[in-house]
């Protein structure tokens, strides 16, 4: 259980990072090389839901594991844990944020675009917290493969966020017009 809990946490971290990257790409409105916009959007959704599945494995396994001494309250209320309460608390914070993002994502049509967007912005807060949790709380958080993986996804996400903040990020209507068949006689 202990090993499974750690492995699923690691997988969830990778999937969440991929989801953030795909989410930024989705917002840009661009296709991914040959992959149409719809597929990018669906991939973002499905990778996110897979991250959630692995997160449930991660938390569930550690709840059942006697060594981890995780209580149900720790799953929802941060910083009360017995083992490295600060780093574990970050995991709880990330989980709560992710829950809000996923639930509002699934209920987008009910709650409306404005609320959805507002809550979805929390992803940018959730991701660094989750990364910090996996490094600081993981028993092998400082082992070479984990550090390498964290460095890779961090560089990727930071680069994506930099792109997100750059001027040419959005595929605006003006830009589509340039790609399109617009002609000036």
């Amino acid at each position: 259980m202990w090993a499974f809990g750690r492995a699923s946490g690691f997988a969830s971290m990778l999937l969440l990072s991929a989801s953030v990257l795909l989410g930024i790409l989705t917002r840009s409105g661009r296709p991914l090389v040959q992959l149409p916009r719809v597929s990018v959007s669906l991939l973002h959704r499905n990778v996110s839901l897979m991250a959630v599945v692995f997160l449930i494995f991660h938390v569930g396994a550690l709840l059942l594991d006697s060594y981890a001494q995780l209580h149900v309250t720790d799953v929802f209320v941060p910083f009360l844990g017995s083992y490295r309460p600060f780093w574990q608390g970050l995991g709880t914070v990330a989980l709560d944020l992710l829950a809000a993002v996923v639930v509002t994502g699934l209920l987008r049509h009910r709650i409306g675009q404005r609320t959805f967007k507002l809550v979805h912005w929390l992803s940018y807060a959730m991701w660094p917290v989750a990364i910090a949790h996996s490094v600081g709380n993981g028993t092998d958080g400082t082992s070479a493969p984990v550090v390498a993986a964290v460095v890779v996804v961090s560089v990727a996400v930071v680069a994506a966020v930099a792109w997100r903040l750059s001027a040419g990020f959005l595929e605006t209507a003006r830009l589509r017009q340039l790609h399109g068949q617009w002609r000036r006689p």
Binding site: G29, P36, R37, S41, A173, R176, G180
Partner: protein, 85 residues
């Protein structure tokens, strides 16, 4: 042909132009019903509509209903609605 497809319309895809941002997911999902204009906004395919028809409500065939439901679900700005007759 176009008159037939209008009569057979299983539903109409309503475009809320005040929300539409021209991201183009709907045109990817419904390539036969929708193309995109100069700026990327969805455009009823030629032959779908009579000349003066309401271009904000695009008639769909039965075979397109599944893709249309996906388009409504996946539109990034919630600009689409399915209106069944």
């Amino acid at each position: 042909m176009s008159a037939d497809s209008r009569r057979e319309a299983a539903a109409r895809l309503h475009i809320d132009w005040t929300r539409c941002d021209g991201r183009g997911l709907c045109a990817e999902l419904l390539p036969e019903a929708l193309s995109r204009d100069d700026w990327g906004f969805p455009l009823a395919a030629p032959g779908r509509l009579a000349v003066d028809a309401d271009k904000s409500n695009v008639p769909l065939k039965h075979s397109e209903l599944g893709a249309a439901a996906d388009a409504v679900k996946l539109c990034p700005v919630l600009a689409l609605r399915l209106a069944r007759p």
